[in-house]
């Protein structure tokens, strides 16, 4: 096994794990298959004090992402209502999906078209307004496309940097940190908080990402390649956290 044999999904796992670096003792709440694996990888390596959920009503200490209920190492009973205690006190970093996202990280999970009579009803606002106004938020987009990365989202469910700035003090807890996709890692580390291309995954060009993005990205002169998993990280992903390979079904490696 060598790091150069890493699959695209494994590069995504590491990129998402990196979102949690430096977070300390908070609830890492990555939603989705690859984000869930990533949260466990971060805790197993460089962020050992993170808390993670079993996806239902418990915080668990297992490194394995998908375990039978009787094999869970339980830390805390965490029913849905407890989630708001973490969210509203600023002790959570969520990774959400996005049906649409714009250059300032405004997210839409609710509906396509006019909200009052949508052409496509999606999930709804869910917890996005509360997550984003209170805590650090990152996004996971398993298919980077111009349909997701749009000039303007139809409904703002998750608050982006421009709207946070307009709120002034009331928006002080907004922290949209990263967007990880199957092609690249993006962030908002620009003077005006516009989305920036942070790195491209191995085998992906800057032009590929620009073509798959429906708005103008901030593209630095030099765009690095996303970090490859270390051999130890690959071992943890393949043998401990996700031995069944669920990650490869969410992001198949391009032929």
């Amino acid at each position: 096994m060598s790091a150069t044999s890493a699959t695209r999904a494994e590069v995504c796992v590491v990129a998402l794990a990196e979102c949690f670096r430096g977070d300390g003792e908070i609830l890492a709440n990555p939603i989705g298959t690859i984000p869930m694996i990533a949260g466990r990888l971060a805790r197993a390596t460089f962020a050992p004090d993170l808390c993670v959920t079993d996806g239902e009503a418990a915080l668990v200490d297992n490194d394995a992402a998908f375990v039978a209920p009787e094999d869970r190492v339980l830390e805390y009973w965490n029913p849905y209502r407890s989630m708001f205690d973490w969210v509203w006190s600023g002790r959570r970093h969520v990774v959400m999906g996005a049906s649409q996202i714009d250059r300032y990280g405004n997210q839409n999970l609710a509906a396509i078209g006019d909200y009052r009579r949508p052409t496509v009803q999606l999930l709804g606002y869910r917890g996005a307004p509360g997550n984003t106004i209170n805590d650090t938020t990152s996004y996971w987009v398993p298919r980077h496309s111009p349909r997701v990365f749009v000039e303007q989202v139809d409904t703002v469910t998750g608050v982006g940097w421009d709207r946070a700035a307009a709120l002034g003090r009331a928006g002080r807890f907004v922290d949209v940190r990263r967007v990880v996709t199957d092609l690249a890692v993006l962030d908002f580390e620009t003077p005006d908080k516009r989305m920036r291309l942070r790195s491209v995954h191995p085998g992906v060009t800057v032009d590929d990402v620009v073509a798959a993005t429906g708005f103008e990205l901030v593209v630095p002169d030099e765009v690095p390649t996303s970090r490859l998993p270390t051999e130890e990280e690959l071992r943890l992903i393949r043998e401990v956290i996700d031995p069944e390979g669920a990650r490869e079904r969410e992001v198949p490696t391009p032929a």
């Binding site: 239902e56 849905y80 969210v87 709804g124 606002y125 869910r126 307004p129 106004i133 307009a166 907004v174």
Partner: protein, 293 residues
């Protein structure tokens, strides 16, 4: 003289008879988990109409939309868990058939808590900066009359009380007086919904109905979260959450849920589903589930 406690045991039809058209009804459970489906099916069969449904939405909301019972949905989402989007709710929204009052999940919590505590609103920053303030005109902002930790008077959202006319929930085990326990991983918002609803219209169904002296033996003290002070009617409804999960009594019936979801494909598919699984007495529904399909 021995005390004689009120016996609240009733049938699903007696519950439905206490409901009125136009009511605002909270439905317990979460997505496709521990939903009071026996009562929901009875509402779908009834002549009730123009209901406002407050829910962490699952097949409760979808079934009532498909049956034409819903005027307005008050919700943060609707999902069938293993089927991410609730297809019947989706169809109703895309057809413009229902009004929609969107909330964040946490705002549902605050709105129910405000109603239960009899205050007009509770303060929060949830909603600021999002389009909730555009899409839900009941949400307003105000400047805090009380300074924050830095002495600033910050902008906040007033989450109004979600005033209910009725609440329905499904629990694992209850007594005839309305004390009940959840035995699965999560109570969801069941207790708060029952506390937010007015006396006379708070109903639970349960997998088992036992004597009060036996109740505690079914779990532990911390699971005794539904008090008879919150409940006006108890329905004995084994399988009453089907096809949603009711852990640890039974998991979600994925095949039955798939059949329900597939019925959103066309009016004909819905009519066939309805004839087989909705327009039948609950006893017959449960017999068909037991005998398999």
């Amino acid at each position: 003289m021995t005390r004689t406690a009120t016996d609240k045991l009733m049938t699903v039809d007696e519950v439905v008879a206490r409901l009125r058209p136009g009511m605002t009804i909270a439905i317990g459970g979460w997505a496709s988990r521990r939903k009071p489906m026996a009562i929901v099916r009875a509402i779908a069969r009834s002549d009730l109409h123009d209901l406002t449904v407050v829910t962490h939405g699952g097949p409760d909301l979808g079934l009532l939309c498909a049956a034409g019972k819903v005027r307005k949905a008050v919700h943060a989402f609707a999902s069938l868990d293993t089927i991410p989007l609730e297809p019947h709710f989706r169809a109703a929204r895309q057809a413009g058939a229902i009004e929609d009052e969107p909330l964040d999940e946490g705002l549902v919590h605050l709105g129910l808590q405000a109603a239960a505590w009899r205050v007009p609103f509770l303060p929060t920053r949830v909603g600021l900066g999002s389009d909730l303030l555009r899409d839900n005109p009941r949400l307003t902002t105000f400047t805090s009359p009380v300074p924050d930790e830095d002495g600033e008077h910050e902008l906040l959202v007033a989450m109004p009380a979600i005033r209910l006319d009725a609440a329905i929930c499904h629990l694992n085990v209850a007594d005839r007086r309305g004390n009940a326990m959840f035995l699965g991983p999560d109570l969801y918002w069941d207790d708060l919904m029952l506390q937010a609803a007015p006396t006379g219209c708070r109903f639970i169904s349960a997998e088992k109905v036992v004597d009060t002296a036996e109740l505690a033996g079914h779990g532990c003290l911390h699971q005794m979260r539904i008090s008879r002070m919150m409940v006006d009617g108890v329905v004995h409804a084994p399988g009453g959450a089907h096809p949603t999960s009711c852990e640890p009594d039974y998991p979600r019936d994925e095949a039955a849920q798939r059949a329900y979801a597939d019925a959103a494909a066309s009016p004909e598919a819905w009519a066939a589903y309805r004839a087989e699984w909705v327009d039948v007495p609950e006893e017959e529904y449960q017999r068909k589930v037991r005998e398999g399909r």
